[in-house]
């Protein structure tokens, strides 16, 4: 099981975003149901631009996502799916890390066959240990 670990700055952004009551309320609403920015703006005693700013802060912290639907900007509380995607991506992270290590192996193996062999030319590869 791969668990997504947040970096310190990601945690800071998340807590910073949630330190505001309006923003907490927005997250709470859009986690239950997607809402357009204009519909959110109707609910709060503030301008459309101010609500949009709050949404931008939440978006930067990865707590909501924004998509366009015609003229409307739809806000969704995609916390779960973002973390889910992060987990899926980590599988491919492992694939590319392995490829990068194998590239280094190819370069090293070729270098040792061209040059006189080093005393310990161990063709080590990260084999998964038994047990």
């Amino acid at each position: 099981m791969v668990v997504y670990e947040l970096t310190d700055s990601e945690v800071d952004a998340m807590f910073g975003a949630l330190a505001d009551a309006t923003r907490r309320d927005i997250v709470d609403r859009v986690l239950h149901e997607n809402a357009s920015v204009s519909r959110l703006a109707e609910r709060y005693d503030m301008s459309f631009a101010a609500v949009q700013k709050h949404v931008a802060v939440l978006q930067a912290a990865g707590l909501v996502t924004k998509s366009r639907q015609g003229r409307e900007q739809i806000v969704s509380g995609n916390l779960v799916s973002i973390h889910h995607i992060q987990k899926l991506l980590s599988h491919f992270e492992a694939v590319w890390k392995q490829r990068a290590l194998q590239m280094a192996d190819v370069l090293r193996d070729d270098a040792t066959t061209e040059a006189p062999p080093s005393p310990t030319s161990s063709g080590t590869r990260a084999d998964i240990p038994h047990d």
Partner: protein, 161 residues
């Protein structure tokens, strides 16, 4: 050996950066020469063989990766652009055994950028996925392969006596 990665779940991209102890020209052969390429493309237990490789813009490649029980998984590339020896952009997707796209799961993209640095070459790989559903499918498939492999190993162990 230095490998760093960065994932962007909203953009559905993964960036891998590695510093290779080789000149730009030498590092470039890792991707321009199919015999070099197949030494790193597949995982150790699923080595890759490239049976077709047209390393030109608009060219295609066909490869298969062979698992421990002899099973083959086919894939194909479309080479979108090449700027020798700096940059190559490809699309990778599942294929049938003739190297024709199977249309399953969709296309992943990879942009490989080579740049000379002190004492070697920095390679940056930007890979992109089409959708969360595609990612999900690919991971599921990989897990099924892993599972099948584990079962195969158990079978082999049990049949040893």
């Amino acid at each position: 050996m230095n490998v760093t990665t960065h994932t962007d779940p909203e953009a559905l991209t993964l960036t891998t950066t590695t510093e290779l102890a080789a000149s730009l020209e030498r590092a470039w052969q890792l991707v321009s020469d199919p015999r070099q390429l197949e030494r790193w493309w597949g995982p150790p237990e699923w080595p890759a063989t490239f049976v077709r490789y047209e390393f030109v813009p608009g060219g295609r490649a066909h490869y298969f990766m062979q698992g421990p029980d002899g099973e083959r998984m086919h894939g194909m590339w479309r080479i979108l652009s090449i700027t020798e020896p700096r940059e190559v952009s490809i699309e990778d997707e599942f294929a049938d055994d003739q190297g024709e796209p199977s249309g399953d799961i969709g296309v992943t993209t990879a942009l490989l950028t080579f740049e000379p640095i002190d004492g070697g070459t920095r390679l940056t790989i930007l890979s992109g996925f089409a959708s969360a559903e595609q990612l999900e499918e690919m991971v599921k498939m990989g897990m099924e392969e892993g599972m099948r492999e584990a079962i195969g190993q158990i079978d082999a162990l049990l049949s040893e006596d």
